[in-house]
């Protein structure tokens, strides 16, 4: 399969309709990420996804094809999610509870937190109650399966800081989960 970077290169050279391929590849992924990050209804999330994809297209000439496209587009989606927070004045520290999300990617997290698999719902709730700076690294690492370097690119923080935030996030999750016992 042709890589994202090659598809982007074709679009940059004038094959604009190839952007449909990018949309197909990233629409679902971005939807899941933004949904977990902003925790709003599907309509709102779709709007943020659409904004992110439009912004990605508009700025495509600014993308360096020697770099990783997925980090770049996640970065745009992340910024759009943050803009959404600001626009709607949503409190970033804690969000309302919605149980239908965070259905994938939890296994590794549950394993690392050393808790019983039966407590998946509790993990959902705990992740959603994390402060944004911790929630975003947890989502990117465990749910989007990004590595430290990619998270560092997406969030514009150092790799060391990614490790620190992940460690603290896990500690906070353990506290939140223990409090719920």
């Amino acid at each position: 399969m042709i890589s994202d970077e090659d598809v982007v290169e074709l679009i940059q050279k004038g094959d604009r309709e190839k952007f449909g391929e990018i949309i197909k590849r990233y629409q679902g992924k971005l939807f899941g990420y933004i949904k977990n990050l902003i925790n709003q209804n599907n309509m709102e999330v779709e709007d943020v996804v659409e904004d992110s994809l439009v912004s990605a297209y508009e700025n495509l000439n600014g993308f360096d094809t020697s770099k990783k496209f997925s980090s770049w587009i996640y970065r745009i989606a992340h910024n759009k999610a943050v803009d959404y927070f600001k626009k709607k004045k949503i409190k970033k520290e804690s969000l309302e509870d919605r149980d239908e999300i965070l259905e994938t990617g939890k296994e590794k997290l549950i394993e690392e937190l050393e808790i019983e698999k039966e407590r998946k719902m509790a993990v959902n709730k705990a992740v959603k109650n994390l402060e944004l700076k911790y929630r975003e690294v947890v989502l990117l690492y465990y749910f989007e399966e990004k590595n430290y370097e990619e998270i560092s690119d997406i969030l514009h923080i150092s790799i060391g800081n990614v490790g620190v935030l992940l460690y603290r996030a896990k500690e906070k999750l353990k506290i939140l989960l223990n409090n719920k016992r």
């Binding site: 309709e17 197909k24 629409q27 996804v49 659409e50 439009v54 297209y57 700025n59 000439n61």
Partner: protein
């Protein structure tokens, strides 16, 4: 999620020209603008601090304190306000630029100005009283 709907909508807008890619030169210009601005800011801050250091070297505030109100009058009259003014202007510009980089939501304007202001005060105090 209506995957087809978003894809169709965006492609329709692309075909109609409603959304367009920004030309490459805009990104090149932006990159150079940012580099040039950083260079100017660094030079300006260095010049401003050098000005204050020069003043501190010539008129030691510790000595002026010993001369009481006259000492302070000389200090106030000779203080290089234009250097300080310049430093503050460029400091505000650099803070504004910095806030545009990285995760903006992590750096609220209040935090940025408090931190930057504190840093500036500490630098000036160190130069004046230790320099």
């Amino acid at each position: 999620m209506k995957k087809k709907k978003i894809e169709g909508q965006i492609l329709k807008k692309i075909k109609s020209g409603e959304i367009q890619m920004k030309p490459r030169w805009k990104f090149v210009v932006k990159m150079w603008e940012e580099r040039a601005l950083w260079l100017v800011l660094i030079l300006a801050v260095v010049l401003s601090i050098s000005g204050i250091a020069y003043f501190a070297d010539k008129y030691s505030p510790r000595e002026l304190v010993e001369y009481g109100s006259i000492g302070f009058q000389v200090f106030y009259e000779d203080f290089p306000y234009y250097w300080l003014f310049g430093a503050i202007i460029f400091w505000i510009m650099s803070v504004k630029m910095w806030s545009r980089l990285g995760n903006n939501y992590r750096k609220t304007t209040t935090k940025v100005f408090l931190f930057g202001g504190l840093l500036l005060v500490v630098i000036i105090a160190l130069i004046l009283f230790l320099g």
